[in-house]
């Protein structure tokens, strides 16, 4: 528990004033809280002894009023300062997390699942907020308030009575902690059962045509029945524990009250305390129930906060596995791959082996081959997003490891296999490639990527929002926006990673022709499944298991007898020969 406090001490120390004020206000609030029961006890005693007068009554009411006002004011301040502090730390850590995300390279993203990373940025952060706000208040409140009341009970009423009446109360903290933890565990498994049920329903709804075609309705009803039954059982297990809370609390608190009346009667009889004091004492007993619960809850909140904080810290501690110390800058963009061999950090086998190829400025390279043959891995070498493999990748006579990453990327236009667009307007998505592009450059890029006709049909043209909250685009449209995003940069090196797979043959031809005409003096690399996209390339390589198995021009390769010519024949005849 203190572990957590130690971990966020940097925050508490940098907000010393805030936390000093919180403690101060909280202490004042605690003292204020104990006055009303005293006033009530005094009133009862005065009445019981027949000593009450109008003056005394107004004095008591005056004090009461002052206490109410002061309590309201200090409670507002500590509440505001504390919970505002909790959202502030959440905001600070979230910002740090995002900065880290932006810094880490693909190796990290291959190791971690998006879902896990998101959980850290959402659930774990919420837990930290909870532990820093609710957790700290519970810690301070349950300890200081508990202590204050016990001291007041002891000093103003009776130490013996306090001791005996309080004996059962620590049980509340233990019940809350133990039961809370068990419930949490069962709750998780009940949530999982709910998730399974949910997925099953989703499956049935999404596959409704299939289910009906194969006449599976009754079978699905039976399956769903057993899933709801399973969830119901797990849910009841939680409820059965949950139902213990109230009765256990009733028994523990009642025991305390019974002791206070029994032993209290003895003390009143012996003249040690008055009746009013006994009543005040009972009001205090009731006030202790909450801090006792809080104490139990505290352990669980802090434990969870601690675990969440560690999970976040793990990401923050990640170091970029690429050392970007290069200084050299690319000008001509002539490539030399010299026996490049590469293995993914988590893989067992080489993904590229002995790749040797030369590509000069103004040339177009086509890369073909089966799925998984290493095509994408090949071009990722140029992006400088993985640690280098063995062999030399020389650009303009300089080894890529000595090149400045940012400067290199400035020269690149990259259209990835996955269509990654952002939830912004079409304009913003295309200008992502070049934020200071002119209107003319934008129009040109749209024309080159053959997106002009589609754009004319969009509800709000360039200002149309894409993504989840906007219009849904077809795969082909997404691909062409991605291509426009790269073309607007007029990059020295353009890389298309299977970027025309979802456009029709006519559009593909249009785009390829534009690229041919506009990029005569620049380097272009095209990965494709459809050979028509690389007919014009100066060089074509065929990859298989990370090795170059064929290379040459379209003419040369289609006259050969390898994979390329077979694919080419199939493509022309439609598998009819």
């Amino acid at each position: 528990m203190l572990d957590y406090i130690r971990k966020i001490s940097w925050y508490i120390f940098s907000n010393k004033k805030r936390y000093t004020l919180i403690v101060l206000f909280l202490l004042i609030a605690n003292v204020m809280d104990i006055i009303p029961p005293q006033l009530i006890g005094r009133t009862i005693d005065l009445i019981n002894n027949g000593e009450m007068t109008e003056t005394i009554m107004w004095n008591i009411l005056l004090i009461f009023a002052a206490v109410i006002v002061l309590t309201y004011v200090v409670s507002y301040w500590w509440g505001y300062l504390l919970f505002e502090g909790a959202i502030k730390i959440e905001s600070i850590i979230r910002s740090r997390l995002m900065r880290k995300f932006l810094l880490l390279s693909p190796g990290f993203y291959e190791r971690s699942k998006t879902g896990d990373l998101m959980a850290k940025a959402t659930n774990d952060l919420r837990t930290v907020n909870m532990a820093t706000g609710f957790g700290i208040i519970t810690l301070l409140d349950s300890t200081t308030f508990l202590l204050t009341i016990i001291l007041v009970m002891g000093f103003t009423i009776s130490w013996q009575l306090t001791f005996f009446a309080l004996l059962p109360l620590p049980l509340l903290a233990i019940i809350e902690q133990r039961l809370g933890r068990m419930i949490n565990k069962r709750h998780k498994s009940s949530q999982e059962a709910f998730g399974v049920m949910n997925d099953a329903v989703l499956e049935v709804v999404e596959g409704v045509r299939l289910t009906r075609s194969y006449v599976q309705e009754d079978a699905e009803n039976r399956r769903f029945h057993s899933l709801t039954e399973n969830y119901l059982n797990k849910f009841m297990k939680v409820e059965k524990l949950d139902a213990f809370f109230q009765p256990l609390t009733i028994i523990v608190v009642s025991s305390s009250i019974a002791i206070s009346f029994g032993y209290g009667a003895v003390l009143v009889n012996n003249g040690i305390i008055t009746v009013g004091e006994l009543i005040t004492f009972n009001v205090y007993l009731n006030m202790l129930i909450w801090p006792m619960f809080a104490l139990g809850m505290l352990f669980n909140i802090m434990e969870r906060g601690n675990a969440s904080y560690d999970r976040i810290q793990n990401v923050l501690d990640e170091t970029d596995d690429l050392n970007d110390i290069g200084e050299a800058v690319v000008k001509e963009t002539n490539f030399n791959f010299n026996e490049v061999t590469f293995k993914y950090p988590t893989a067992q086998h080489n993904s590229l082996e002995d790749i040797t190829i030369e590509l000069n400025r103004g040339e177009t390279l086509g890369i073909v081959g089966k799925t998984g043959s290493g095509k994408s891995t090949f071009i990722k070498q140029l992006l400088k997003i993985y640690p280098e493999g063995s062999g030399d990748l020389i650009i303009d006579g300089v080894n890529i490891s000595s090149l400045n990453r940012e400067k290199l990327r400035d020269k690149l236009g990259y259209v990835s296999q996955e269509n990654i667009l952002f939830s912004r307007t079409v304009r913003e998505n295309i200008m992502f490639g070049k934020p200071d592009a002119t209107e003319a450059e934008l129009t040109e890029a749209i024309k080159l990527s053959a997106f002009d006709e589609d754009l004319a049909r969009m509800p709000e043209g360039l200002e149309t929002l894409v993504g989840e909250k906007g219009v849904s685009l077809s795969g082909g449209q997404k691909q062409r926006i991605s291509i426009a995003r790269s073309l607007i940069k007029q990059p020295d090196i353009l890389i298309l990673d299977d970027a025309l797979s979802a456009v029709d043959a006519r559009t593909e031809t249009r785009i390829i022709n534009h690229i041919k005409d506009n990029r005569k003096d620049k380097t272009t690399i095209i990965i494709t499944h459809r050979l028509s996209a690389v007919h014009h390339a100066d060089k074509i390589i065929v990859l298989e298991n990370g090795k170059i198995v064929e290379s040459g021009t379209h003419q040369a390769l289609s006259n050969g007898s390898g994979w390329y010519s077979k694919q080419n024949d199939y493509f022309i005849t439609g598998g009819e020969s």
């Binding site: 919970f83 693909p106 959402t122 256990l248 990259y414 993504g467 979802a502």
Partner: protein, 576 residues
């Protein structure tokens, strides 16, 4: 409240349990309120007498009575909760099964306009909200109202003016609660929206990281993120301020105010003519006022859950009210595989015809290929064939039978379908081939898989045909998912096969695999195929070219090439 009435049938099925639970709750409230009465008796009969005059023995009896009552209080509280929650979960399970079954009988049309996620939410999440209502909110409301009025009743009897003060404070607390809830809900709503925008941006940035980094846009994204992070912080801060000003803090102030008034009442009663209140009565009033506020605050805190459940109930009931498909018609026992469309017109919305005057004659064993641009009506023909929809005019005949007069399920038993996006169920490979049809043996499923060329796939999976497939077949390639769909179609051994060919987005090797599987499955069966690549249908018995819902060209490949119209143009273009 209309919703609540409609929920009654579900409660009625478990009325014994619900009634028992409510009875237990009433006892529970009785035991709870009896406690302070005993304490007051101890004070007034014994402790009040003061030092030296108190006899301990009878006090111990009263304490024993007090503990017994508290034990009963604890027991009734436990069983009331268990009984009510059990009854609630049972009623909800019944409701869930009803909704699920109902959804299975809704016409396909229903799913066209409602996203899958929403349908699922009705069946699982919304019913869960209603469970909250049955199992916790309504019982809590009942306990709270019962407690409040019992306390006010007793206090009015014991000391009239204190009772009046309490009655005055009930509307005050309720007005506070409603206003506070309203304001904090509005603010919470804004905060939640900001939060989800922010999380969406984090998610998108993680997924789009390669693009952000390769385009050197890290700083831009960072700045944009800082901006919405700050905005979120500001709105959360506003909420904290509101919360600290008007939340629990204010509630405590109201409570203290009542205690101050109580002191005033005690003192003025003593100073007045009516005579002082006894210690026991004063204790009783203090104790009851402490207990009086919690149920009030509870009701307020649960009001929003109540509202959510009401909305949820509304949605679920609306779904249950949707008109299901009529299940009638003769059973088709024998079917040879001859299908004809006679002057079929069809419209989804009743306004615009998507199919106009369609006539098709397919003889047993024929392959009919449907060709045309998106929106030309290819899929609608398949929808009518599977009887997901029925034609508005004209008729479809299976052999000599008008399909409108045949039971849908019995018709579908003669057909298998392979959809464009092959659907994979969670479960084993075997399950995905034979589904729940126990008539298909494991051997037959295995043979179907081998026949369509899925042997390499089975060899790759750890447990062969018994391997669990990932959700939606996530670990399988598009081609592999297609092969499984073909094996499924083959294993069911249909008279009619319906194929919606995968679009062009596959590599040529996968295409070869699928072409092979397609040939195997369609052999000797009446086959309807939606073709995207003309290369795959050159041997079809009939090629039907659709344009805007009308048949423009009809014939075999050679005939249509000779015709020299649209088909031949499309063919030339695709062949490059």
């Amino acid at each position: 409240m209309k919703e609540m009435v409609k929920l009654l049938p579900y409660i009625k099925q478990y009325k014994g349990m619900f009634a028992g639970g409510i009875l237990l709750m009433i006892c529970m409230v009785g035991f709870e309120l009896a406690g302070p009465l005993i304490a007051a008796a101890i004070l007034d009969r014994h402790i009040k007498l003061g030092a030296g005059n108190i006899v301990i023995q009878p006090i111990l009896y009263l304490i024993a009575l007090f503990l017994t009552i508290k034990l009963l209080h604890a027991l009734t509280s436990y069983f009331a909760q268990i009984v009510l929650v059990s009854a609630g979960t049972r009623a909800i399970q019944k409701m869930r099964l009803d909704v699920f079954k109902h959804v299975q009988n809704l016409p396909i049309r229903y799913f066209d306009n409602l996203p899958a996620g929403k349908v699922v939410a009705r069946i699982t999440n919304d019913t869960e909200s209603i469970l909250q209502l049955f199992a916790s909110v309504i019982p809590m409301f009942m306990v709270s109202i019962l407690t409040i009025f019992s306390i006010v009743g007793i206090v009015l009897y014991v000391h009239f003016w204190t009772g009046i003060v309490m009655l005055v404070f009930i509307p005050i607390v309720i007005i506070w609660g409603v206003l506070y809830k309203k304001y904090s809900n509005d603010n919470n709503h804004i905060k939640r929206e900001r939060n989800s925008d922010m999380n969406a941006m984090i998610n998108e940035s993680i997924n789009g990281m390669p693009i952000i980094q390769v385009f050197n846009r890290e700083d831009q994204i960072k700045d944009e993120f800082e901006k919405i992070n700050d905005e979120y912080y500001d709105s959360a801060k506003g909420l904290v301020k509101l919360e600290s000003l008007t939340g629990e803090n204010l509630a405590n102030t109201i409570r203290s105010l009542v205690f101050a008034i109580l002191v005033y009442i005690f003192a003025t009663t003593f100073l007045g003519d009516t005579g002082a209140l006894t210690v026991g009565i004063m204790y009783l009033l203090v104790d009851y006022i402490t207990r009086f506020f919690n149920p009030l605050f509870n009701i307020i805190s649960q009001l929003s859950i109540f509202e959510q459940a009401r909305v949820a109930a509304d949605k679920v009931l609306e779904m249950l009210d949707a008109e299901p498909e009529v299940k009638e018609g003769q059973t088709l026992n024998k079917f040879n595989g001859n299908i004809s469309f006679r002057n079929v017109n069809f419209s989804y919305d009743g306004k615009r015809d998507v199919l106009k005057n369609i006539n098709i004659d397919a003889v047993q064993g024929d392959t009919i290929a449907l060709v045309g641009h998106t929106g030309s009506g290819k899929s609608s023909i398949i929808n009518l064939l599977m009887r997901f929809y029925d034609p508005n005019h004209g008729a479809i005949y299976f052999d000599e039978h008008d399909t409108k007069e045949i039971d849908k399920q019995s018709l579908r038993q003669f057909m298998s379908i392979v959809l464009q996006d092959s659907f994979i169920y969670s479960g084993t490979l075997l399950y995905n081939v034979r589904l729940n049809n126990e008539n298909i043996t494991e051997e037959e499923a295995l043979k179907a898989l081998e026949d369509v060329g899925a042997a390499p796939l089975m060899a790759r999976l750890p447990d062969g045909i018994h391997s669990e497939l990932a959700e939606r077949g996530a670990t399988l390639s598009l081609g592999e998912r297609q092969l499984i769909s073909f094996a499924r179609a083959l294993a069911f051994n249909p008279k009619v096969l319906v194929l919606d060919e995968a679009t062009s987005n596959i590599d040529s090797e996968t295409e070869q695999l699928i072409q092979y599987a397609m040939d195997v499955v369609s052999k000797d069966r009446t086959t309807f195929i939606i073709a995207h690549r003309l290369s795959t249908i050159q041997h079809a018995d009939q090629i039907i070219l659709l344009e805007n819902g009308e048949i423009k060209e009809q014939g075999n490949h050679e005939e249509l090439i000779e015709l020299g119209q649209n088909y031949s143009k499309m063919y030339e273009m695709q062949m490059g």
